[in-house]
Point group: C2
Chain length 297, copies 2
């Protein structure tokens, strides 16, 4: 099988928007002199739609601009232009439930670190049909490990910037797969829980829900924000606080949040069952509240 | 000017080898589904030739394989195959003094962190005509800053792996350019000197030369190794030891080493002149010994 055939097969229900033009996935190429390719010098966002409506698109675009700012990456597009292109991609996909990934690179330029010698942004949007989450996640929960890979520190490459430099999380994910786990929880250099490789981590202790504060070095999750809002409306206590892997393993319940996967129970961390080793009651309540809430948006 | 015209102009004396085929720079494109593009999930090396001979190519390929190992990146090529392709690119360039950059990506694959769903490596080699270093470097030295961007820690993304995740160094370089400096020196989280954004850092104090140990979290420079060898042969004392920015600023001389730029005097760090603010005597001696030595290889 050629690479082209592999791409055709893998990306069957996929649409690509390249600088405003809709093209087939197998035809979607970029210059090898693009800094996104040479240096991972790019930013991205991922969101999804439900029943024909893109969720939190404005918030994702706002975070996109914030990532750009953290990396001194000049964006040649306006918020409205990016929104138009994401919506165009979504329409072309012609599915009610879509996965949408948009990214901007610093563009092609001279080889080397000098960002003054660049041409202009390349904008790439990938739209795919989003399948429902597996039922087993809600029956059994998923298994995480505590990774030995330390999350990028804020003063090296702030996890708040969603960028094309993903090896730190990839290394943690590889470790999880080697241990047959679903994903990995990363700690910061002080040993506190930060986040999963592509999600925010939560624990339930007694009546309250805890999650790491932004100061721990995490991405400001948009679903994380939504959970704060939902809990506030439903009188569920949420506390942002630093906590350790031991705290997590002794929690009554654990779960993760992600824009694509919503709220997912974690039933095991390393070899330790969380609570009864099944999805927790409050976790499933938060999931239900989240699903109901986003329908109202 | 279109991107294509920009590429034609910028990469005039450039040859690209893409998976074994020699192509024009403006035609050198890669799938947007390549993990090198989406995640910076790639490794690379840069070397150069002198008078028709590629310097330390075997050592660069060995380090390339070591980078791959650190990232669990399976290389579908043998050492000999990579060597053949780099040499082919060099020959096509038809210049005695070439810049040669070779990289391998984990390949195209499913979107996400799962490396089991990839097709196969993409190999990209860029060959360019290498211009001589500016004379001013040797008359005046260059100006570095101490960056506020902390070098990636070894337990997050080991600087020993030369990868496509370059934002950490790019942020430091941007800071240097904002201060009109040539480049930036990065510290580790304990405040010790690690390396420049694309080079190793050295200081002279009295009769000895100092450079950061590998344990500080640096790339094992091939020119760094050559300097050890040369100094050993010429009874110049070299010490690997941790040192701080204050030590550096109080040094008699400073310089950096790089495969492309050899040995270059640093005459100023932040606002502090090093020694007399001119290239140091021992620095220029090391440069001379290095240039003589590589002619014998």
């Amino acid at each position: 099988m050629s690479e082209r055939e592999f791409l055709q097969k893998t990306f069957e229900n996929t649409v690509v928007n390249f600088n405003g033009s809709l093209i087939k996935p197998e035809d979607a190429t970029i210059s090898i002199f693009d800094r996104g390719f040479l240096y991972g010098d790019s930013i991205y966002e991922v969101t999804r739609s439900y029943d024909g409506k893109i969720l939190y698109l404005d918030q994702h675009i706002e975070r996109f601009f914030n990532s750009a700012k953290l990396l001194s990456l000049k964006i040649d597009y306006s918020h409205a232009q990016i929104k138009t292109e994401v919506e165009k991609t979504f329409k072309a996909l012609n599915t009610p439930n879509a996965y949408l990934r948009f990214m901007i690179t610093r563009g092609v330029g001279e080889i080397g670190l000098d960002i003054s010698k660049v041409y202009k942004n390349n904008l790439v949007i990938i739209g795919r049909v989003q399948k429902p989450n597996p039922e087993t996640w809600y029956k059994d929960g998923v298994h995480f490990i505590i990774s030995s890979v330390v999350r990028n520190s804020k003063d090296s490459l702030d996890p708040m910037a969603k960028s094309g430099n993903y090896l730190n999380s990839i290394l943690a994910y590889i470790e999880a797969k080697e241990k047959n786990a679903y994903d990995a929880i990363m700690l910061n250099k002080d040993g506190f829980v930060t986040e999963g490789t592509t999600n925010n981590i939560w624990m339930v202790k007694g009546e309250a829900i805890y999650t790491a504060p932004l100061s721990a070095g995490i991405l400001k999750g948009i679903t994380r924000d939504a959970v704060f809002e939902i809990c506030s409306k439903n009188n569920i206590k949420v506390i942002e606080a630093e906590f350790t892997p031991i705290d997590l393993k002794n929690a009554d319940e654990c779960f993760f949040t992600s824009s694509i996967r919503e709220v997912v129970p974690i039933s095991k961390i390393d070899d330790t069952l969380i609570g009864k080793g099944k999805p927790g009651e409050l976790t499933l309540k938060v999931l239900q509240l989240y699903q109901a809430y986003i329908k109202t948006l």
